[in-house]
Structure formats: C-alpha cells, structure tokens
C-alpha cells in the first residue's frame, strides 16, 4: 500500500458504517473452480465453427476427440482418447482408428465410430472457418462420405496423398476434431444445417464436463460429468466469469472471490504475487507478436529496408518493461516447443545499423501507416517502434481500430505495416509454415486472404515449395532440418519482423494445483485441477 491508499483508508474509517456488512467476503467452495477470464471473443461453441481462444477452452472440456493431448503431460504429444488405437495403411494414406468401448455421451447415447465419422464429415460439409484444418487433407463436401467412413467399431480416414501421420493426428487434436453426439445433433437440425444453429449455443459431447450455460460476455458454467470414462473430475462445478479489466481480476483474486485470474497485466501480476495466498504460474504459449511489411510498398519491398526494420525494435527494452514476464524474445515463425522450432534470435535494437541499411537502399524520409488493434500492449509496442523509426527519419502514423476494422484492411493488402499476433491452430509446424512462408499465387486475384504471406504480397522467394515438401516428409529428423532451413532463410529475407512469443501468466490461489492453460499446443483443461 502506498501513501495515497493509507491516507484514504484513514480518512474513510470514520465513515465505516453498516455498508460494510453488505460486502461479500467468501472463499470459493472446495468443489468449485472459479476463473476470471476475458470470454468476449466466444461467438459460437459449435466445434465445427468455434475458432476463438475462450471458445476452444469450452470445447476442450466438453468434447472428447479421437486423439487428445494430456494436460498433465503435454510434451508427450497426442495420446489415445476416444480412439483406443490406430493403424496406418501401407501407402500411408488411410488411418484406421479402433474406438474405445463403453463410452457414453452426456445424453446417455453410446459413442460410436459412426458418431466420429459424422463429426468429421459434418465439419467438412459445413465448411466453417476452421474447416481448412481438415480440408487440407483433401476432404471435400462431395467426397466426405467416402474418405471418412465408419465400419462397426472402426473409423477409416483416407487422405488425398501421403502425409506425416503425426501431422494428421495433430490436426485431430484441434477443436474441430471434437466428436459430437450424432443422434442429439441431428434431432435439432433445422433446414439441413446439420444442427449448426442449435450447437452454436448448446453442447452434445462426451467430455469430462457438461455445459450448463453460456451467457455471452457474462459467464460460462460447466458441471462435471460423473460418467466420464476417465473418472469424474474433482471440481464439480467450473465457472468462467467474464471480467474485462486486469485490475478487477486482481481485486477479485486477492479478495478470494475467484480461484484463478487469467488476464493480469505485468504490473498486476507483480502486485498480486505479493498478496497473501496468491501464486503465479507461467506457461509458454504459441502466440507470436509480429510486424509485417506490405511488399506492395515500393520502399518496403527492398531487402535492405526489410532488414533495417528488424533492427528498429527495442526487443529487450520492451521485454523488460511493459511486456515483462508475459513475452519472450522470439524471432522465428515457429513458436518455441514446436517441432523444428529454431531458437536463433540474431537481431538486436541497433539504430546505427538500421540507418546504414536504409542508406544502402537509398531510402531517406518515409511516411508509413501502421495498423494495430486496440489492445494496450500492442499499442505500446507500436509506439515504441514509432519512436525508434522516428530516429531514422521514418514517420509512422498509427491507426488504432477494433480487430475487425484493422483486419479487414490487412486482408485487403491496404496497410503499409501491420502489427499483430498469430497463434498456431494445431500442434504441428505446418500450421505456421503454411501461412508465413507459403504463397503459391501472389496475384491480387488469388485472394488467398488466409495466408499471411499473401496479405503482405510476399512471393516467399522459393519457400513455398520447401514448405510443401516438409509437410509430406515422413522422417522426423529430416523434417526438423527442413524447418530449420526454412526458418533461417525466412529470418533473412522475409518481410515479417517476428518479435515476441507469449507467456501466459495465470495468477491463482495457493490451493489450486495442476492448472494448465494448454501451453503452446492446446487450450485450457479443467478436469485435472484439484484444490
């Protein structure tokens, strides 16, 4: 407490009247886990459609998948979940899963291979945002019933060519791999939507938790599934309450009104860690913070200019100040902990070097527009960069907007510079390689808005073919080396200034154990948590 608070406290003691009796003081019940989190990004909880962070948290706990990641042992990679085992055909194109027996959905219906086949087919046919995770294997609405089929206790999926098995299975651990209850879902079908409208706000899973309610921008309430095949979870009720402000989350935590606060800023983490009964857990996440230079801009497309910008970031200054504890310096497109991720960070804050490079490119005095969404840490990174750029004679005008405003312009290739974040979609290197360094058709007409390289009009200088080759390579070590090579070339030639990788700091009450937000590879899990 500082002087100000002390003064106020003493001044206010005289006023302490009956109001005090209204204040809620309570500890959360032993069998209940209460989490403060920003959940305003949840727009749908249909696993075939859901693609936001907070939505993935819900799905992870409500739906089981064929293969899944164990929150207590994430390094092990995918493990059997609803599929007990699997075999790969000789040509490497067909995987046959054997389903676990005796598992039931929350509705009481048994989980069958037919449900699993239906879930994947449904995701492909609905073709919602995350569908690309499956369709990249050649599944289409037309061939879905042949390429994904159930036979008794077996599920067979056949890809259009041979891929690394780990790549296919990693994709199935994503939210879109969730197995839904066919009977329940189809009972709620409206106008041939395969239950999409209903599943957006309801659930039909077999996971450790059942969804009680989701109130947008308010709260998500889950209760434990006593019949979960892996054993009923310890926390019988989980409430995820939407709390926007870091300060509010911290106050709630310090007062014992919640168990876990997930969105504290560095200052509040520092403050909360001093509070009694609070501990902090760090997890390295997959999200990267990067700056992208639009190659349509005549000056930004010069190789020296691209390199100069990589020296205009005060990496250490930012990491040690307003990003403290929540971001680590990382200059490669594969997040640390990913297969083949490089840990080389050759660039440092060097104004003179940047000046030299700009002079070599013959650039003198530039005015650029930088788009960034209205999140404080990003605005601050933008301002720090703006400050550095001013020192080499480059004027950067910052345009702040909602994510939707800025994104629309980024996708339309309109911004000079975009400052943003990118999180991997599934735990395989292809997820980032396939967007940062892959762009088969750089023309405007291609409209490949999903590819970061395309958005910045970068033809990748030959990396596209290398990425395509790496994804089909079956040998693990060879594959790792291929990605290392791609990243080395990417660092030196790309118009992307990858700056930081996120560390998620969860602040929680002392008695909470086994908390996992899923590290870089998946989302938060609640069933292993105890208090």
């Amino acid at each position: 407490m500082n002087v100000f608070s002390k003064l106020l406290t003493s001044a206010a003691i005289g006023l302490a009247v009956s109001v005090a009796s209204f204040a809620a003081h309570a500890e959360t019940p032993d069998n209940m886990l209460v989490i403060a989190h920003r959940i305003d990004d949840v727009t749908t909880i249909d696993p075939a459609e859901s693609f936001e962070f907070a939505g993935s948290d819900i799905s992870r706990n409500v739906y089981s998948r064929l293969v899944n990641l164990d929150p207590m042992d994430l390094d092990a990679g995918y493990k059997p979940d609803l599929a007990e085992s699997w075999e790969v055909s000789e040509d490497g194109r067909t995987i046959t899963f054997t389903m676990r027996e005796g598992v039931t959905f929350h509705s009481g219906n048994p989980v069958t291979a037919e449900d699993a086949a239906f879930s994947l087919q449904r995701a492909v046919i609905l073709n919602k945002t995350p569908a690309f995770i499956l369709t990249q294997f050649g599944f289409t609405a037309e061939n879905a019933t042949e390429t994904i089929r159930a036979d008794g206790n077996k599920l067979m999926i056949t890809t259009d060519k041979k891929y690394a098995t780990s790549f296919v299975l990693n994709c199935l651990t994503a939210t879109i791999g969730a197995v839904v209850d066919k009977e329940t879902v189809m009972a709620n079908e409206v106008d041939g939507d395969m239950g999409n409208t209903w599943l957006r706000t309801n659930s039909a899973g077999s996971g450790p938790y059942k969804l009680d309610s989701w109130k947008p921008n308010e709260a998500v309430t889950l209760s434990s599934n006593p019949d979960y095949y892996g054993g009923a979870p310890a926390m019988e009720r989980v409430i995820v309450r939407h709390v926007l402000e870091s300060a509010s989350q911290r106050l709630l935590l310090e007062r014992g009104d919640i168990d876990i606060a997930r969105n504290l800023n560095p200052e509040d983490v520092a403050g909360a860690s001093e509070a009694e009964g609070v501990k902090i857990a760090d997890e390295l996440k997959g999200r990267l913070m990067y700056l992208a230079l639009n190659q349509k801009h005549p000056e930004l497309s010069k190789p020296e200019v691209r390199q100069a910008f990589k020296h205009l970031i005060d990496y250490e200054g930012m990491r040690d100040s307003f990003l403290k504890g929540q971001y680590t310096i990382h200059q490669n497109f594969l997040p640390a902990t990913y297969l083949g991720a490089s840990d080389e960070n050759p660039f440092s804050y060097d104004i003179d070097k940047a000046k030299e490079l700009l002079a070599a490119a013959g650039v003198d005095g530039l005015e650029l527009e930088l788009g960034v969404r209205e999140a404080q840490e990003r605005i601050e990174i933008a301002q720090s960069f703006q400050n550095a750029a001013a020192q080499v004679g480059i004027t950067v005008n910052i345009t702040v907007g909602t994510s939707k405003q800025i994104l629309a312009r980024y996708r339309a290739r309109e911004l000079d510079i975009y400052l943003g974040a990118w999180g991997p979609d599934y735990p395989d290197p292809q997820t980032n390689a396939g967007t940062f360094a892959y762009n088969p058709d750089n023309s405007d007409e291609a409209n490949a808005t999903g590819l970061l390289a395309w958005r910045n009009s970068w033809d990748t200088g030959g990396l596209t073919e290398k990425v395509a080759a790496a994804v089909t390579e079956g040998d693990r070590d060879t594959r790792v080396q291929m990605y290392l090579d791609i990243q080395a070339q990417f660092r030196e030639t790309s118009p992307f200034v990858v700056m930081f990788q996120q560390i998620e700091q969860s602040a929680m009450r002392d008695d909470v154990t086994n908390w996992s937000t899923g590290q870089a590879v998946t989302s938060a899990a609640y069933w292993q948590v105890t208090k």
């Binding site: 206010a12 809620a24 959360t28 209460v34 569908a131 509010s248 709630l252 939707k404 996708r411 808005t449």
Partner: protein, 350 residues
C-alpha cells in the same frame, strides 16, 4: 382535457383527443423509422466487415462467400433495409451475428440490468436532489446553498469513468465495503430463478436474502455514482424552479397571512413545481436508461449501453439496431409521458 373544445371546423370531424393520439403515434412512427434508417446506414458504411466479424481471420474465401450470401449482403441497400423493417414489424430483431442468439433474447437479458441500475440511480438522485434543491432555494445564499452549488458543479464537471475507477479502487479495492464489478458475486450467479431479470427483485421474490445482500453490495456503488450525476442536475433545476415560485406574489401573500414557512414551501411552492420537476426527472431517467456506456464498462455491468457499444464495434448490426430501437422508444415514450403530464396538470398548456 379539451373535450369541451367545440371550436373545430363545422363538419363533425374526429374528437380532438383522438386526433392528438393519432398525431402522436404518427410522430413516434416517423421518428422510429428515421432512427432505424440512420442506424442502418451507419452500420453499412462502417469500415467493419460483418462477414469478417463472423468468420474470423483464418477463414477461407469459400467460407467467407457463403456467409456473405447468407447475410443477404449481395442485395441492394434499400432492399436489405426493407427486409429488416419487415422483420422488425413482426417483432423479429434477427439473430446476433456474434453470439448466434436472437437479439430479442439478448435485450431481454441486458435491458433489466440497465433498468435496475438506472432506477436505483434515479431514486437516489430524487431522494437527495429534490430536498437539497428545495432547501438551497429557501436558504438562498446560505452555506447549504453553497454546498449544493459546489456539489452540482463538481457533478457536472467530473469525468464519470474516472470517478467510477476511483470509487472502485477505494470502496472495493482498499476498503472492501462494496461488491466488485458485475451484478452479483460469482457464487450467486443463477442461484435465484430469473423472473423479472432484476436481480434485487428476483432475490426478494425467492426470499433469498444472501443473494439480495450480495446483489445490493454490487449495485450500490454504480447506482450511487449515477445517482450523484442525476442529483447534480435535479437539485439545480429544483432550486431554480423553487426560486421562481418563492418570488411569486402568492407566496408573499401567504406569508403575510401568517402561513407557516413549512406550508408555504411544501404545500404551495413545491406543489406548483412538481410538473416541471417530473419533466426534469423523466429526462434524467431517460438518460440513465439509454445505458450509461462508460459506467457499465467500468463496472462490467452487462447492460444495454455496453451491449450496443460492443455490438457496434464488432459490426453486429442486428444487435445495434435492436438496442437502438429499444432505447429510442424509451426515450420517446418518456418524452410523451412528460408532455402528457404537462397537458393534464399545467393549465397554461391546455
């Protein structure tokens, strides 16, 4: 009212009160139509792409195109507007693009939150503001008058979001006297069945005192804040209305006749200002009901103000339009209500 007014044209046309009613309804309809149209246009010229708002950053072009058609964005603007209007006339506000629920369901959830907050706020404002204004007028120039003046001026001048932050810091963070952000403590979420949507009322109906206490501890700070801002306005207006009355001849006469000061002030002067006062209160109430966006944001209050704002910034136009209709309607109705009072009570306006 004007039922005895026979000055109308020779032919026996509609009785005047029907005419007035029809005119009023007509003007409401026109205003609402205008309101909708402007909101609709704003939504369409906004540089936010509603399709992108739904499908997100990673969507492929085919996904994008499918949603584009689904939303009917390929049709001309005016056609889209007419479609929308048709639905609204059937009380269908459409589905929120962002949380896949009917907008009417959303509004039924968020509006009671605002209603509860605004009502408590205006009650505080009236209970404190009116007596303060009256006393300040009676004791013009005294220290009470000065205090009332300062209170009001500070109220007019304070950035509400800043005062809210400070209030939260002091009364919740440091002192712990009140509940934190949100409508109710986490354990009490969904404990009492939602009948009216007003948690305080629902808790009473259910006889659950714990929930009532908890909800009260959450609402008291933001409500006091809003109450303070309406107090500033109400007390100033009360004071100036009262001064006008107190300087009137009938007051002097009453005093000369030896009527007690209490009776002069409350039975005569105050009685004469109540219609004006109700207008002022209706106006403040309307302003609070519009959803005090900033207060709601600071206190994580899931009300209509923050609902419309969030929707607006994410291009969820169905939600914005629905919210605007509700808020606009309330505003207009409260205006008409105070107009009516004027006609009923104020002889000059007849």
């Amino acid at each position: 009212m004007a039922l005895t007014d026979n000055k109308g044209e020779g032919r026996a046309s509609l009785p005047p009160w029907i005419k007035t009613t029809l005119l009023t309804i007509g003007s409401i309809a026109v205003t609402m139509l205008g309101l909708l149209f402007i909101t609709f246009i704003i939504g369409r010229v906004m540089p936010i792409d509603p399709v992108l708002a739904i499908v997100g950053e990673r969507a492929s072009q085919s996904t994008y195109d499918a949603v584009f058609l689904e939303l009917g964005l390929d049709k001309p603007l005016i056609v889209q507007f007419l479609y929308y209007l048709w639905d609204v006339l059937h009380l269908d506000f459409g589905t929120s693009l962002l949380n896949a629920r009917p907008v009417s369901e959303d509004i039924a959830r968020v509006f009671p939150a605002t209603l509860e907050l605004a009502t408590l706020g205006i009650i505080i404002g009236i209970l404190l503001g009116v007596p303060l204004g009256v006393v300040a007028a009676v004791r013009k120039g005294s220290w009470i008058d000065q205090i009332a003046r300062v209170l009001a001026l500070v109220g007019y001048s304070m950035p509400i979001f800043w005062l809210g932050l400070m209030g939260l810091l002091i009364f919740y963070g440091i002192l712990g006297w009140v509940g934190g952000p949100g409508r109710v403590g986490i354990f009490y979420v969904d404990v009492v069945p939602s009948v009216t949507g007003l948690i305080l009322v629902d808790a009473l109906l259910d006889g659950n005192w714990d929930v009532f206490k908890d909800a009260f501890s959450h609402i008291i700070l933001p409500a006091s804040l809003l109450g303070y801002f309406s107090l500033a306005y109400i007390s100033r207006m009360t004071r100036s209305f009262m001064l006008e009355q107190l300087s009137a001849e009938y007051v002097t006469t009453a005093r000369v006749k030896g009527m007690s000061e209490w009776d002069v002030v409350w039975k005569h002067a105050f009685k004469n200002i109540r219609v004006q006062l109700i207008t002022v209160i209706a106006l403040s109430y309307a302003n609070l009901l519009e959803g005090s966006v900033l207060t709601e944001i600071i206190f994580s209050w899931p009300g209509i103000g923050s609902y419309i704002t969030t929707a607006l910034l994410s291009a969820d136009m169905n939600a914005v339009l629905g919210g605007t209709v509700v808020v606009g309607l309330i505003f207009i109705l409260l205006n008409i209500f105070s107009d009516l009072l004027y006609r009923v009570f104020d002889p000059r306006a007849r």
